[in-house]
């Protein structure tokens, strides 16, 4: 299991060819308390950089971009009633979407924890 980070402040935890995707604590803090989250329907194929989910605060909607190309497997249903779970546990229970990793070589372009931590200071 390896965790990768994007410069859009997403994390993905990869096991085999499946990734669990969420937003970092830094991003959750920047967005403020979330009131709504939803993802593309399971089975949808998304290209790296496409919007794969949306999270919304009181004030604004923010896209979550697919960190890699793949198929959407599932949305975290716990967020349906309680999107603020992302704020409380952004890198654990507050995951957003599970998806396949179509091309593992795309992972090489992402950051590891130390590099990401240095980026957000």
């Amino acid at each position: 299991m390896t965790v990768y980070y994007t410069k859009e402040h997403e994390w993905l935890r990869v096991e085999g060819d499946v990734a669990v995707v969420g937003i970092t604590a830094h991003a959750a803090n920047e967005l403020g308390e979330l009131v709504f989250a939803e993802a593309r329907d399971p089975g949808t194929t998304v290209e790296q950089g496409d919007s794969v989910a949306v999270v919304e605060s009181v004030k604004a909607a923010s896209d979550i971009y697919a960190p890699v190309t793949g198929d959407v497997l599932a949305f975290n249903d716990a967020l349906g009633d309680d999107a603020a779970l992302v704020n409380r546990d952004p890198e654990g229970e507050g995951w957003i979407v599970r998806m396949t990793v179509a091309d593992a070589s795309q992972l090489e372009g992402l950051m590891d924890h130390a590099t990401y931590t240095a980026l957000v200071g």
Partner: protein
């Protein structure tokens, strides 16, 4: 925009309080403090929020005759509100209209005894000043009070907070205006606001703004609140944001703002018409307009934002207007919005569909405001 952002006299205080600053109408303004938009919104409804609104324009209009009635009469050439009947120590909401019946800004007009104080939107203030000055220069002196700050204290704890600095504030009623000393600083205090809550808007010299703000923040229950909370509070209160919910293309009748045109200025009144676009507005007052601003409540949890298109049918085939403001309403407990719909679809309870990310989400036309006001009338 290469212009450097302007700062209000409370800029240092915002940084000290940990605000996140954003550009707004040419100013570097606090959108939120560390508590966040949700908490600041709920705190304002439960206790009291303190807002820096010093970016807004404050304009003094004084009749050359020295008679405030002459300034009031002159201003009525620009706004459909009754200013002549506005008593000293009172303020009211007004609109600057255009020749084709549109709205070029909304504002507050206060009768200060021997002059009128206009409070206008930050983004419009230079244009408003030019507009008023051009129209009234013969009879009035018009002065932008750029050395004045403005602080709003809103919520159920506002009365105790302001009254602890000057007990006279407690006796004021909704839309009263008075000159009061707060923390030793001469202020112009009005019992009004933009949140639907009881509260005050307090003007003072820039140099004294920080003294007054700090004295208010030291009162029990008062916490800073940013522009983010201000927007969700005013939306729940059904209040228009100029540039979003009303603009040059919307008339007072389309905007459901007929209440801001008193009887004396309506057809048959003592000083009917006489403002830009009066004929168009009079026709719409008689016959109605083809579209109307309404409240909208989403049936689901997904917020419906400004700009979303509305449809009469689930398939999104029959256009039915557009959302002009939308957010999650923390006190309403769900998504709330305002928008324009064809008048035959403006009845509360009417089911419409909002286009959000390629889907058509059910919304219901709802009576405004979403949250009952707590004004001390």
């Amino acid at each position: 925009m290469n212009q450097p952002l302007l700062r209000t006299p409370l800029y240092d205080l915002h940084l000290e309080l940990g605000a996140r600053m954003v550009p707004f109408a040419g100013y570097d303004m606090p959108v939120q403090y560390p508590a966040g938009v949700m908490a600041e919104h709920l705190h304002t409804r439960a206790s009291a929020g303190l807002f820096d609104v010093s970016h807004m324009g404050q304009v003094r209009v004084r009749a050359r005759s020295g008679q405030v009635a002459d300034a009031a009469r002159a201003l009525e050439a620009l706004v459909p509100a009754d200013i002549v009947a506005l008593k000293p120590g009172r303020q009211r909401y007004a609109l600057f209209t255009t020749e084709d019946g549109g709205i070029s800004d909304d504002l507050m007009v206060a009768n200060m005894g021997d002059w009128l104080l206009l409070v206008v939107n930050a983004a419009c203030k230079d244009a408003d000043f030019a507009h008023v000055n051009a129209a009234l220069a013969d009879s009035c002196t018009v002065e932008m009070l750029s050395d004045r700050a403005l602080i709003a204290v809103q919520g159920p704890a506002a009365e105790a907070a302001v009254a602890s600095l000057n007990p006279k504030a407690a006796a004021m009623r909704f839309m009263d205006v008075a000159g009061l000393d707060l923390a030793g600083v001469p202020c112009i205090v009005s019992r009004s606001g933009y949140t639907g809550e009881d509260g005050y808007e307090i003007g003072m010299d820039n140099a004294a703004a920080s003294t007054v703000a700090r004295a208010l923040l030291a009162q029990p229950g008062v916490a800073p609140a940013g522009l983010g909370a201000r927007d969700s509070l005013r939306l729940e209160a059904g209040l228009c944001l100029y540039g979003s919910d009303i603009d040059l293309t919307t008339t007072p009748v389309e905007g459901a703002l007929e209440w801001s045109i008193q009887k004396s200025r309506k057809p048959g009144g003592a000083r009917a018409g006489g403002y830009p676009g009066a004929r168009i507005v009079a026709d719409q007052l008689a016959d109605g307009a083809t579209r109307r601003r309404v409240g909208l409540r989403a049936e689901g949890r997904a917020p419906v934002r400004g700009g979303a298109e509305l449809f009469a049918d689930e398939a999104g085939q029959i256009p039915a207007g557009r959302v002009t403001s939308g957010a999650f309403g923390p006190s309403a407990g769900g998504p709330v919005a305002m928008g324009y719909v064809p008048t035959h679809l403006a009845t509360p309870g009417t089911r419409l569909f909002a286009g959000v990310r390629g889907r058509f989400l059910p919304v219901q036309v709802a009576a405004l405001p979403f949250v009952a006001p707590t004004f001390r009338r």
